[in-house]
């Protein structure tokens, strides 16, 4: 049944991706304020971080507290390679993603053996370790002052990335490509195996699935995708900073996916958009953004008790099936709502 769906699914995804990219490219032309482009580039970077984290949290049930470590390794590896002045941007990107995948392979091999909360703790420990390496290894990374001196942007294929509009276009294309890749992974047989591991690891094991290898696979892939987010940010701010690897960055990614919701594929992007927008405007109007942001989060969590995209999705589902819907019941749900592979498409926002 699945293989039958896969091909039209892919076509639909590609069509959707092309439409999304076109929209992203047209948007700044319709509203040519530089601030909109800036905002969207940050959205791409953190969106990739949140989306890739959700491959672990939502898809596989691995709650990582240390995902930003790979966001940072991507940024630093890319920045350092570009600063040598001998590498082209695409090559540096590939090397940074590959290097991060390698780091994730080593760390992941240790981490994925641990269960539940202990997995969370050890990912956090490794993240703090990577952060302290960045801060301590001053001769390479510049320590707490970050990678200084700017990251050069030599032209690729005649495209001058120093032009803010071209830079934006390139980031948008990379972003959409990565989202498409993540979509394919989550819809592949591998992706369904991961869902099975999340819902019932014992059964998966019984069916002969190598649970550890599968988890490691998605851990490495998610890390690679996070590193793309990191290098987009590094390219844009023309530097890399140890704060990228601090636990607060991982924390923020978690809040993005929780705000958006973990069950719908693009939910984390909704959360990213929400948090970025909130942060943007609250920072402008008040210095007490902690108070405002904290209150908003509390209201959403206590009021809706779930991610925004999940709520909207349930509401749509409820209307569609016209059954008396029971969203956010008071009973704590041990088992998550069943994964909704194709239905999820209908409620894609963004």
């Amino acid at each position: 049944m699945r293989s039958g769906l896969l091909s039209p699914g892919l076509l639909r995804d590609v069509a959707f991706a092309i439409a999304a990219l076109a929209l992203l490219l047209v948007l700044p032309m319709a509203f040519p304020a530089p601030a909109l482009r800036d905002f969207l580039i940050y959205f791409f970077a953190y969106g990739l971080l949140a989306m890739s984290l959700n491959l672990l949290v939502g898809l596989t049930g691995l709650v990582s507290f240390g995902h930003a470590a790979y966001f940072a390794t991507g940024a630093y590896a890319f920045g350092l390679l570009m600063q040598t002045g001998r590498v082209s941007i695409p090559l540096a990107m590939l090397a940074a993603v590959g290097g991060t995948a390698l780091v994730a392979l080593v760390i992941g091999a240790i981490c994925v053996r641990l269960k539940e909360i202990y997995f969370s703790f050890i990912t956090l420990a490794f993240q703090m370790f990577i952060h302290s390496v960045i801060v301590t290894w001053v001769s390479l990374t510049g320590g707490d002052q970050g990678l200084r001196g700017g990251i050069p942007r030599p032209p690729i294929l005649g495209l001058d990335l120093n032009d803010a509009r071209v830079l934006y276009g390139a980031c948008a294309a990379v972003f959409v490509l990565c989202i498409l890749a993540m979509r394919q992974v989550s819809q592949s047989p591998f992706g369904y195996t991961l869902r099975m591991i999340r819902d019932n690891p014992a059964r998966a094991n019984f069916l002969g699935v190598d649970v550890t290898a599968m988890k490691l696979g998605i851990f490495v892939f998610a890390a690679a995708m996070a590193s793309v987010g990191g290098l987009i940010l590094a390219l844009f701010v023309s530097g890399a900073y140890p704060e990228f690897a601090f636990w607060t960055t991982s924390g923020e990614a978690i809040f993005m996916i929780m705000l958006g919701g973990t069950t719908i594929f693009l939910g984390p992007l909704v959360g990213t958009l929400l948090l970025q927008t909130l942060n943007h405007f609250v920072t402008i109007y008040t210095e007490h953004h902690g108070l405002v942001l904290g209150t908003v989060i509390l209201v959403i969590v206590l009021g809706l008790r779930r991610g925004l995209a999940d709520v909207v999705y349930d509401w749509l589902q409820g209307r569609r099936t016209t059954r008396p819907n029971t969203p956010a019941g008071p009973t704590p749900e041990g088992a998550e709502p069943a994964p909704l592979p194709d239905g999820a498409l209908k409620s894609r926002i963004v």
């Binding site: 970050g146 530097g239 140890p242 704060e243």
Partner: protein, 422 residues
Amino acid sequence: MGTNTVSSRAPSRRQVLGGLAAGAAVTGFPHVAGAQAKAIRVGMPTILSGRVAILGTSSRAAAQLAFRQINEAGGINGRTLELIDRDSKGRPDEAAKVTRDLINNDGCEIIIDGEASSGAFAVHEVIRDLPVLCLHTCSETSSLSADPKLHVKTAFRCARQGIHDAVAGGTYAARNAKAKGLKRWMTCSPDYAYGRDNTAEFLEFAKMFEPSIETVDQVWPKLFAPDYTESITKILQTKPQAVYSALWGGDLVAFIEQSNLYRLFNSITMFSGGLGDPPVLTAIKQLPPGLNTAYRYNRNYPAKPANAAFADAFAKIAGHEPTNWAWQVYLGCLFIAEALKRTNGRTEGTALAGALKGMSIAAPFAVGDTITMRDSDHTIIGYPVAWGRTVPKAPFVEDFSDVGWGKIVELETQWKKSKGYA
């Protein structure tokens, strides 16, 4: 403080709204909004939350004070200066973002960068991209202005520079070491790039001037560590004659109070790079007398009426004595106003940078007559780099002894050559 903040923010908030609306509606020409407005907008990315919030709040108060005075004196060709501050929460990527927003969206034509360490470098890169005039008023890292590779045409540093303090500190330490026979030294500095560089440079110059100085041990507590007991007992074990520390801010307050419990300063001569900052001195409940400290700010030094007047006016706005950051920001505002006068109110980055290069102004903080924005590397000289001793009564530090700027510049040049910067 609360009412102050609100009343001073209220107009800027409204204007920000206007700026946003203009930015969104007239999209593509955000600068128009700024150019047509009567006020010249100056943006300030800084840290207003978390552990070093006082950095941002005192920087902001100093800029508000300076702008009010400039505007009351008639502004710049009839135009007023308006401050728009924004919190980066201590995150460099956020600092880059708000700086871009301030320039692109809010029509800020000048940036006062109140960011620490990594944030300052992030803002520096933004200015490379969007070349408005930028004054760094917080980062003391020497390479920001000394390294020609990092040079940005419209970016200047209006803050103390690590290497200047190191020469002055080394000279003062050597003088004391010779007079009192202090040979065995230890250091206790925070373990991060600034702490390590600062300590290494201090020792380098101290030993250059007094070769009998010997470093017997070094301890490196973590930055923002709440507890220094193991470092203090290590110092007790090693029994040095003198200790140098690059700790600053709240960390230093805790270190001094915890050292007091062990009566550490009864037997050891203390040299501190950060103790001279008034909020640190005021926070310490039992300030031991006779600790040596670098000048950060003092209302009685330089002993000028203008300096005392600044301290009084600042305290009225902020509710506490000026910080090191406060005088640097205030001085930066004076430089901006003078540069605008010389360009006849033109705000293009290159024009202002041209006016600022080599500019000397008679500031309340000048040791001599003026403080100069050096032409060659865009950093200030002629500001106080003196050392003094603590006393129990406000303003807590006195007996400042100065180091001549001629000597500092000479040794700085040598240092630059050794680093390959010149």
